[in-house]
Symmetry: C2
């Protein structure tokens, strides 16, 4: 685990891109010695008067921190919004938080006169303070001067990292299946992803080492010096990278001088192994918040004794995506460059959002926010379990430890056949049944990643309709039947050379948003259409 | 004025940068035919459930649209925030606007379930609708398919324009004095500003034509094809570019195939000519809102029959800088590229801000918002008048039409000498008095731009202290005396070759934020320190 004695980040300035180096030091720095001087009159900036802000205050009805049960079966109501709108009996428990325009202690208390004024790209000081304490408590970085720097969500966060760390034409390393937007964002800058093979724990360190050791600069160009990873709730696969694996990846990155960008939006949605419904205990998670946190796979920051990790956090999954608020945690050199970049894009994140979220966090306090996160983790676990339970009801499923050489090696893989009246886990091996789907239940995040065995299609079906791959054909059938899921090709780090052939398709199915009844209906449609496709 | 018959934008695709061309079409487009289909279950995206958004509603106490008098002397209270905090007699008139999580008609009514969810980079449909109507009503674009596309403030807006329209190494045209951040943003991308001479109406079309006609590609590289301008409340000069001048600049841009980026944050802060206190009428602006709007210098959009203007609007000066919300108005081709760029940075602007601002605008309605803007225009006019009145009390000022060949040719220039007991406008020509400062009162915006005649310094003072220019020396004296203003060098489009010599310094002084008593005190300090500097 992390070294006992905390280190200071080493000099990693050679990783900065030409664009990032060329960003000027903030012109405000020259005025620094005057700022904050008592009685100073500033007529330097183009600040409107706070008197002209049209809100004398804003407020929010905030859910209490323990709104969501730690008992998985006490699910979020699946009732429609209409019911929620008119229901009197199902009232949520809320407290009103308010942010006035003026407060007595403007340095301490969040207020609109400051939050809605031009401000530093580092965001509200009160928010900075909260997230700094949060990072120290939860992620425990292995060096002293670890710095937090706000951004407008992890998409922006990664975009800033790319421009800070890479020059046009450079390549970066990533899991062979990855978040498509991360790859798409890089293309206009002439950057591209180099896929690294995965196994059940995520990126494989031996595969990473091989790519780097065998890199041929004459045919492949400059060796990558940035690694982009979604280690928890890996998108799309749903795997969780534990401490041992992270340490192994980190060591390879030290050896080859790689910067790790840890895009970790699903960190608190760690759910553990899926347990089939029949064997599942229906009890609340009795662990204290601290015990729950201690049981989570740690961040790469925990092992980062050299300061070579840039971690991306976001409030998108825990407050709301529309927050457009998150932060980088990294060494102070990179943080300063990211701040300069912020100054010439969004400047600071939106003051309405910052003030509401900061006031909510300070109202809940660290313990309350942790309880909120714990509640959400249990909710998403319940959603995962429910959706897989539904699939298991619609298909004939056999679970067995896989021995295939793939990223599912040594996992319990669920193979799905057409439904038989014999039901759940009743093997009918040797029958004429067709293995249609395989999946490993995710251990974190929002998605189930399903492999489709198109090689088991009747021969006449394989020819396909028009030029479309079987994956797109089945995807279209399911969409036409009323369920939109994501086709697998979309997630290949290198779409031109996907880590699979055309007879092995994939789907990514999200269980995060639809209500429980709808998830059930969707499982029915997916099973029915798949069954029809394989039979037709 | 605008052509009577509306045109369609011409094909300007050759202006797109390589980076912008390389941005992929949104992957969502492939799913387009399924979106909005009744009953469709979407398990495609990584959307959290709205049930987990911790706000069941937010609200704001919104000032009424006619909060600010149209009578200039009914100034915003200069009382401190402490007084505002505790005052019971000075209560602002507000209405509460609320945004619930769920509403009965989610397509029509702003609600958190939508505003805080992942959304299109085009922002909330209700906001889009308002700003589209606003643009049509106020700016009256000269072609039919003019498109609006939200951004997170004009700094982001210009940053997106640069990346959409220019390749690394390219130059863009701008006023010889300009907004420093616009230049600073361009440098990391290897872009630079080419200064164009100004006169009292802003950028000079003959000077623009000369720069373009005499451009030598062998020594100067590719001829610029982008013009960046702050036409109203020109930053830092404070000039206002009227219809005739805009038409002339536009015609040069048609001739040389230039795209105009109109950065116009001060459009509604048009204030007209400064009238000395003694001659000023103390009456409310009796014009109707429509008459007031009709009297404003029009936007470049009004003349844009080819679609070569990208206009940047922001809520920073009219709602609050912390809104981090604004929009591009441009041809549909550019708008689509800007949208793609938004998808890989902030995605959409913050949902808290969008929902509060949209609800406020819909609550005020178009007429109310126009009244609000009119009120602010009068307030800023009162601030300008007050600050110049204060300077006139502290210095001996002579006003005369300038005949010098400079950007003040044909303006009434205010020359400032040390104060004499004879007072305002009592000429003492031929005396030993030293002309220290000159300025033309701004006709819009937030700043007074003051020229300092360091060539009139006693000879022994010109040597300066250390290596610092007289501008920095006097700036430091004023700052040490308690008033922070902006030194002029900072605003040169080309800092290496400023449009002035060292013996002609400048200051930009903002009258937008400090309260009235503080502005008075600042004028006293500036006058006193300048006087001392010239005498010492």
């Amino acid at each position: 685990m992390a070294s006992e004695k905390r280190q200071k980040a080493i000099d990693l300035s050679h990783h900065l891109s030409d664009i990032s180096r060329a960003r000027e030091t903030s012109p405000l720095k020259g005025l620094g010695k005057y700022f904050g001087r008592p009685g100073l009159i500033s007529l330097a900036g183009g600040l409107p008067s706070e008197a002209y802000f049209p809100f004398s205050g804003i407020s929010g009805d905030a859910l209490v921190a323990d709104s969501f049960s730690l008992k998985p079966t006490e699910q979020e109501s699946s009732l429609s919004w209409i019911w929620k709108l008119f229901s009197r009996t199902n009232k949520e428990k809320t407290n009103t938080i308010t942010i006035p325009k003026y407060v007595e202690h403007p340095a301490e208390d969040v207020n609109l006169a400051v939050a809605l004024q031009y401000g530093m790209a580092t965001g509200l000081p009160q928010l900075q303070k909260f997230i700094k304490e949060f990072v120290e408590k939860i992620y425990q970085p292995a060096y002293e001067d670890c710095t937090v720097m706000v951004h407008t969500g992890n998409t922006d966060g990664w975009s800033r990292c790319m421009q800070t760390l890479m020059n046009p034409g450079e390549a970066f390393l990533t899991e062979e299946w990855t978040y498509p937007s991360a790859v798409a964002s890089s293309k206009p800058y002439g950057m591209h992803a180099v896929p690294v093979a995965m196994d059940k724990d995520g990126m494989n360190p031996a595969a990473l080492r091989k790519v780097l050791a065998e890199w041929d600069t004459t045919t492949q160009g400059k060796r990558p010096h940035v690694l982009y990873t979604v280690p928890v709730g890996q998108n799309p696969v749903g795997s969780t990278m534990g401490a041992t694996r992270k340490k192994a990846i980190y060591d390879v990155c030290v050896e080859f001088d790689i910067i790790i960008v840890e895009d970790d939006p699903y960190f608190f949605l760690q759910q553990g192994e899926y347990v089939p419904k029949a064997s599942r205990a229906d009890t609340a998670d009795a662990s204290s918040e601290d015990a729950w946190l201690a049981g989570l796979a740690p961040s790469f920051l925990r092992f980062d004794y050299q300061g070579r990790v840039v971690r991306l956090d976001t409030f998108s999954k825990y407050i709301a995506p529309g927050s457009r608020l998150g932060w980088h945690t990294c060494n102070p050199l990179f943080a300063e460059r990211l701040e300069r970049q912020g100054e010439t894009s969004a400047q600071a994140p939106c003051g309405f959002g910052q003030s509401l979220i900061t006031t909510l966090l300070n109202h809940w306090q660290m313990d309350g926010y942790t309880r909120w996160l714990h509640g959400l983790a249990i909710q998403y676990k319940a959603r995962r379990d429910w959706f897989i339970d539904c699939l298991a009801e619609e298909l004939h499923i056999e679970a067995a430890t896989s021995s295939t050489v793939s990223f599912w090696k040594d996992c319990v893989v669920y193979d799905a056949y057409p439904k038989r009246s014999t039901g759940w886990l009743m093997s009918e091996k040797g029958s004429v049944d067709t293995k249609m789907l395989s999946f490993v239940p995710p251990t974190s995040g929002m998605f189930v990643w399903i492999k489709v065995h198109f090689d088991n299609l009747p021969a006449y079906r394989r020819i396909g309709e028009g030029d479309e791959s079987p994956e797109i054909q089945l995807w279209t059938k399911i969409a036409d039947a009323g369920v939109l899921i994501s086709p697998g090709w979309f997630f290949a780090a290198d779409v031109e050379n996907p880590p699979t052939d055309e007879m092995e398709g994939h789907f990514r199915i999200s269980f995060s948003n639809a209500d429980f009844d709808t998830l059930k209906k969707a499982a029915q449609i997916i099973a029915r259409e798949t069954d029809k496709f394989f039979k037709a």
